[in-house]
Amino acid sequence: MLKVQNVSYRYDSWNWWRPRSEESSVLRDVSLDLEGGCCLGLLGTSGAGKSTLGKVVLGLQRPNKGQILFEGQDLYASGGQLRQRIRREIQVVFQDCYSSVNPLMTAAQIIGEPLRNYERLSAGELRRCTGALLEKVGLSAGDGSKTPDEFSGGQLQRINIARAIALRPKLIVLDEPVSSLDRVHQSLILELLADLKSSLGVSYLFITHDIQAAMALCDRVAVMDRGEIVQMTDKPLSLWESESPTVRSLTEAVLPEHPSLRRSLS
């Protein structure tokens, strides 16, 4: 469904006198494949280029090299209406739930924004739709009139998820969706995402640095390091035994379950 082909990306500063170098590349020749109804984990430490890849897939940042093919169509080559139609199928949930919502809008307006952009609904239909979406993510329809400062982080992330599923997209890019939440809400949100995946048949590109979260949700995992994919596996559990230093650094970061398992921090 989604094909990322040899994508390279470099953050350009506007200073024309600053020489360009390959060193400043955030993504280097990245290729990925994602089938429908599947969850692909993108694992890596910060600075590995995961989020940049997410933005490239979302159509927010044009790659310097390479292509993003969604159902065979090049996201960046197609213009106008076709591009809008492809875009509709790819939605997003960002890490920072607080600044992912406009503080001046109500929950119903936030969730209704994609619907207003793509579908001609009457005010009543829109209210019914947003109410149903709120219930689908575990809030009540009455929460629609509240503003973001009346919600907790976990609830806000549910609103962000509701906005992402509003258009019934085929792919949702989850950019660290649980990293700003506490452990309890992390597992609740992961559960919700797993439910939605099976009930809506949506695919996820799940960007995270948390190997346990990736294990909980993903069918396949790609490990990134410094702009490159260093490992790709259909069996996420095999990562625990991996010898690669990048993967080791991620598995060793998991907190011990018992004090006796503490590693010395020498």
Binding site: L60, V92, S99, S100, N117
Partner: protein, 276 residues
Amino acid sequence: MSKSRQRVFKGQPTIVICSIVILLFFIIAALAPWIAPHDPVKVDLTQKLDGPSAEHWLGTDQLGRDNLSRLIYGARVSLGFAVMIFVSSLILGTLIGALSGYMGGWLDNLIMRVCEGIMAFPNLVLVLGIVGIFGPGLTQILLALMMVQWVYYARICRNMVVSLKGRPFIAAARVSGSSSWQIIRRHIIPNVQRPIVVMATLEMGWAIMDISALSFLGLGIQPPNAEWGAMIHEGTSHIRSHPELMIYPGILILIVVITFNVVGEALSERYGVVKR
């Protein structure tokens, strides 16, 4: 809105009083033709430089014109033009600033360098230069002040837009299919308008000072029309015998500027706005 207003003013009588004073000035300015006891430009040399009396509460000036009526009509010019400068530079500055911040790149650079160029001069010097080119008169002053005032709004607005643009909800709006125009209308303008209006309240005091200063220098309103700054100027020739001719308009300018500043400060404290 009424709820937030109550919260702003709760337990702060100074601000309530200042707001009422401002409102009162605007009402007086609007109703000048009906409440002024005399014609402000009617010369009566038999009554020149009279002291306070039942007919002329604040006495008369060197041409026998009623001081109170001149002060009331003067409020019209000072406040009216301050509001015009305020509105026009606010709109111009906000639009240019929003465009600059949203587009970024070379356009942003160009606009910001122009702003810095204008800000490098003291306001009054630049206005004097512009008025020097176009000649004295209220319209010219209005244009000149507008040309220097918009940069402050543009800069603040631009910076707010740049910081808003990096927020994930703008990216989320783009992903959910909103066009640039829809993003500006739904997300950017609502988030910048309140701080900008608060800042503008602070700028109002400055606008009144600038208009009065220019009129004092003889560049603004032309005689015989009344304006506070011009009245102070006319009073200078009688400063020893009749200092009240300068004191009355001076006090009014002081009151208006202080009240605007108090209200503006309170609002900016409440909404955390950066001052220039």
